[in-house]
Point group: C2
Chain length 334, copies 2
DNA sequence: CTGTTAGCGCTTTCAT
DNA sequence: ATGAAAGCGCTAACAG
């Protein structure tokens, strides 16, 4: 089913058919309706490959992400989709599963596909930076969402980690906490920023109230909390690096017969699971959907101005309390 | 950067360059190395659009999904990716957010893109069926994962809902439960199958031990559990339609001072959140990753045999208990 | 207003 | 073993 067949059937030239489809040239009503009829008769659909080849535009943007299973990242995906689809672009998902060869293959593919733009959420590993460089060098607009600090050569969308952490701890203090523990992740620049915010908020910084895991998982939260508990120091608040860590911490606290929120105030980060806990806790919500939207906006914006120096957009995390939390988890199977 | 420039630089014809790249014709070592060198020098990458146009193959398969945020669906995505990438195909994500126009736009797009295959997870609404029909009519191989029963005209990948439900209830009974309550979803064929399995397992079927929500959410589980509790009938086990429902049910039970698992044995379905609960419960795990893999396999298989009548593949749900559950939730931020 | 035609970059006979 | 050239389906000057 080609444009030529449509043209023949309608008794016009291919140029006319093209003009009708793209509505970019004046065509008499007479011919237009004949063409439209032929298109319907034949159930014709323009071939995107040919169109892209001829125009040099693919109308696709790629989203590179380490793990689509992560709720934050799938929310970001949604945000990207929302604005991309609004501009008639489609989004190609490149989920690398934290695997180097996979990441590299995807970037190769992105380069071959002549994708119009890329949103990138990577890790702090060097490879992420290298791959971003390859994309940028190829002249493809790229926005890095929640990128590590070292990615200043590219448009970035960040959240106010330090400030948010400071706010979170301050809120706990205002709610009556005298000593807030901090559960972080070593080797994470994000966690480091939050630690700074924490230090900013506490009047005196006691290292024995902090503990660090290898990652933002339940297990890391559990272990870190145990570590602090075993030190025997007093505390009445806990600020965890992620909701999953908070959940792990809650389990550890429970084993030590500390009650939430009676004995201990718990605060998570990212608001992915806070409302599902037995004793719902507060959490600083990462505006993941908006991050996605903003990242896509930045990509489109960059498409029209390739010269401007790299930009940084900072979005605000916001507190979500047990009261405010909607318990309506979305889960539909069919 | 075109194949012609590479050819000129290497002092050969474009046909030779093409042959070197695709390794499908004999080329002397001499020329091959000159070509490869030129490719490196120019950092040349073949243009996928042109290639696809010339060959009629796009090496992409699309995954249509109502909501990528749903952990089950993102697991399926991973499975699809795994096999697709293994065959050098890429996966395009079409997340419709349960929105009709979006779904339609995506299918239009799939048709224009001349995608090589489609994996479809839809709802039980008529539109899903209609869109699947459009795709199939266009001659594109399509596998429906967890599709409603009415989609027999297409390759399907299902799970043994009825049998799994029967097993789940039987397990509860073997663990000492005398009366198991059932929390389902009205208007869901999946839930209906599970209800049948439930009925199969219980010796006497008491409708007052069942309740149905509008969806598989926390809230629905909470409300349904409340409904049963308010009837005052005795029960010592609960089989919920999803882990989220189970979590909601747990909250309701807690409010009525019923302890898990001391007073009540709780069983979820899908194993998405069971291990995160305060009192971890059992759950029938949906093999989502395998569903994705199988669906993709079926698509590839269908690509090579378009005549064979539609197939149905059934995968087994399996029990995951609190003991077996790994508490290592995956959650990495950066 | 409409049609002719030359590409877009790659593959693939078919000669040589 | 290599190259010339004819497409793949569409767009966009350019002519009329």
């Amino acid at each position: 089913m080609t444009i030529r067949e449509v043209a023949e059937r309608a008794g016009v030239s291919v140029a006319t058919v093209s003009a009708v489809i793209n509505e970019n040239k004046y065509v008499s009503d007479e011919l237009r309706s004949r063409v439209l009829q032929a298109i319907r008769d034949l159930d014709y659909r323009p071939n995107r490959w040919a169109k892209s080849l001829a125009t040099g535009k693919g109308y696709t943007i790629a989203y590179v992400v380490p793990d689509i299973t992560n709720p934050i990242f799938s929310q970001i995906t949604k945000g990207i989709q929302e604005v991309a689809n609004g501009q008639n672009y489609s989004v190609i998902l490149c989920s690398t599963n934290f695997d180097s060869p996979t990441l590299q293959r995807y970037v190769d593919w992105i380069l071959e596909m002549r994708v119009d733009g890329v949103v990138f959420t990577g890790s702090h590993h060097q490879q992420s930076l290298d791959e971003m460089i390859r994309i940028v060098k190829a002249g493809i607009p790229l926005a890095a969402a929640m990128a590590p600090g070292s990615a200043e050569f590219v448009d970035r969308i960040l959240i106010n980690d330090q400030e948010a952490a400071c706010q979170a701890v301050t809120i706990l203090q205002n709610q009556g906490c005298h000593a807030v523990a901090f559960l972080g992740v070593s080797e994470s620049t994000t966690s480091l920023k939050r630690l700074r915010g924490y230090q900013e908020a506490v009047t005196v910084y006691s290292p024995e109230l902090t503990a660090f895991g290898a990652d933002f998982t339940w297990q890391d939260g559990y272990t870190a909390m145990q570590a602090i508990l075993s030190r025997g120091c007093l505390f009445d608040g806990v600020f965890a690096g992620s909701d999953l860590m908070a959940l792990g911490a809650a389990a550890a606290l429970r084993e030590h017969s500390r009650r939430i929120p009676d004995d201990i105030q718990l605060m998570g980060f990212d608001n992915t699971y806070a409302h599902l806990a037995d004793s719902p806790f507060q959490s600083m919500a990462i505006p993941a959907f908006d991050i996605g939207k903003t990242a896509a906006d930045v990509v489109f914006w960059r498409m029209n101005d390739r010269q401007r120096p790299p930009t940084t957009t900072t979005l605000q995390a916001r507190l979500v309390g047990p009261a405010a939390a909607s318990r309506k988890g979305e889960f539909q199977q069919q």
